[in-house]
Amino acid sequence: MSAAAADWLPSASVTASGRPVLSAGEVERNLLPLVDLEPEENPRLAPLRGCLLALTSHRLIFLHEPSRSARGLPLATVVHAYPPHRRHSHNPLRSIFSSSSSSSSSQHHRIRLQISMPPARSEVVAIVVTCKADVDVFFGRLLEAIRARAWEMTPAAAPVSSATVAEGAAPAEDIAIRMPVVGVSGILRMEQESWESAGQNLQDAFQDLNALMSKAKEMMQLAEKMRLKLLTNSSTEPNSNDEEMGSKQDMQDLLLSVGIVAPVTKETAGALYHQQLSLQLADFLRIPLEKAGGMMALVDVYCLFNRARGTELISPEDLLQACLLWEKVDVPVMLRKFDSGVKVIQTKTHSDEEVFARISSLAQKPDALQKGISPSDAAFTLGIAPALAKEHLLNAENKGLLCRDVSPDGFRFFINLFNEIDAQNIYTQKPHGLYHAWISVAMAYQC
């Protein structure tokens, strides 16, 4: 179901890879992988199902990934946001673990929002969080974003050229409280409020802590038992039915939320972070790849991408994971590993044959017939980096197009003449063809 149905919300534009396009000064603050948006009072407003929710400093963007369409709810329209609410089950175990993240199919967090849509109409909608996520953190960020009112500030003077650079910038620390402060009493009032809220937080924290400490030992034993049970179960019954698998998955997730590493890991699509990173990378690389002729070494991409991000640099491992995820999505780039081990990123339209044709014609020029071509010659002519040129030459050698010549002068490649020579009659030569062309050029330089 695409996001187009919910036409009571303004639409949001999406990049070619399916990431939301952010306006100048708009910064991403949090992501929830899977939510629904349900209007609670008005039956005429269409709900949104199965969307990725991106909280930015200006909007709540609901992105429907399969159809790559999105709707954006401006934060300016949010009058009030109610804290996340969830029906507790009677399972005491679940309620103990439930403080941070777990959720099951019967109980999703609901965040109610009272919004005022033009023309001067008040609605109540609920964001239903159907995935496992830290809803409290999201809610905290939502409140901060609403309070910050970033959409009222004038846009920065320097133009932001691409959404990726804007997202990469550090979150602006202007969450300054902008409530009207009237005189000294206003200041005192603020102080009072902050003290009270701090006191309350501390109390809550200690309460949890005391309870946890008293149960800690029992908790660990129980968790250990469950872990072993999971381990033995999964190894003896690989074909259990769906219901069992579902509850087992829940159990694993509960354990994970307490910090115990799952004993059995299935192949996942990668954390949400890597997914988003890989899409962002694909968007970013579109232009540099074109300039570089369709192929770039992975190390170059690492430098380029991190330089563009400014802060919040990614590790080489993250980059590699992001590239590997491209296999699962439809993007116009791919990771490729040459025989020598060099990894490059190339556009899917890149063709080896075309490169071979260019190398072949280069190797048949009179100069090259006489002296061969070196990787730097090839790099110069093909317009690519020398390291990549060498890979291409080695590739062409493997295909039988070129032969290498190793000498004290260095490493050079010649067009492959061996296929043209008749081993039965080593003195004969055809009056035309490659061998003949080579002989006339090479012999011209012999005395």
Binding site: C403, R404, D405, D409, F414, L417, I421, A423, Q446
Partner: protein, 184 residues
């Protein structure tokens, strides 16, 4: 470089990659390179009457000073081995080959641009006298100008022994001098 002495070099000796051994992964090209070297070695040895190739001495066709290239030690071994191995396989099928290592370390190689059998046939067909010293075959008046002139003594003895096995000749010794009696 077009000539080595009175031997005309084929044109591909001026092709630099000829002197760089091709990885065995590039199967087809490597085969051609090996064959070309085998042909060249045999042709050169035949024309210059060289019977033994040793790594301690220079073998001119292994390098081309005009283009500044020469075969590495490893490459020389590979190409000579190709001549030898061909012979080994053929030996298993009772067909002799074109080269043999003379020692276990592969330092010296005996080049048989005519196989032992070929030499034996040559001896038979040459219409030599019924009895003569072995030395005469090598350097005597009768064989001057024929293939047999200056034949290596090792090769000659092996050919003669082959004839002996087949009953076409008999080797005898008189006063430290070996002679051969050809049967009709």
């Amino acid at each position: 470089m077009k000539r080595l002495g009175n031997f005309e070099l084929p044109d591909f000796c001026n092709y630099p990659p000829y002197f760089t051994i091709i990885f065995s992964l590039q199967f087809a090209t490597r085969e051609v390179q090996v064959r070309l070297w085998k042909e060249l070695i045999l042709a050169y040895c035949r024309s210059q009457r060289i019977y033994i190739v040793s790594f301690e001495q220079d073998f001119p066709s292994f390098s081309n000073p005009a283009i500044g290239r020469s075969l590495s030690r490893e490459a020389k071994e590979v190409f000579l081995s190709a001549l030898v191995t061909e012979g080994e396989w053929e030996y298993l099928n009772s067909v002799p080959g074109h080269a043999e290592w003379m020692d276990g370390n592969c330092y010296k190689c005996l080049i048989l641009w005519l196989t032992i059998q070929d030499w034996a046939n040559c001896l038979k067909e040459n219409g030599l006298g019924s009895t003569m010293p072995v030395e005469d075959i090598r350097s005597g008046f009768d064989t001057r100008g024929t293939e047999l002139a200056g034949i290596d003594s090792i090769v000659l003895m092996r050919a003669l022994r082959l004839l002996e096995q087949k009953g076409k000749a008999a080797i005898f010794k008189v006063n430290d001098c070996e002679g051969i009696k050809f049967c009709v």
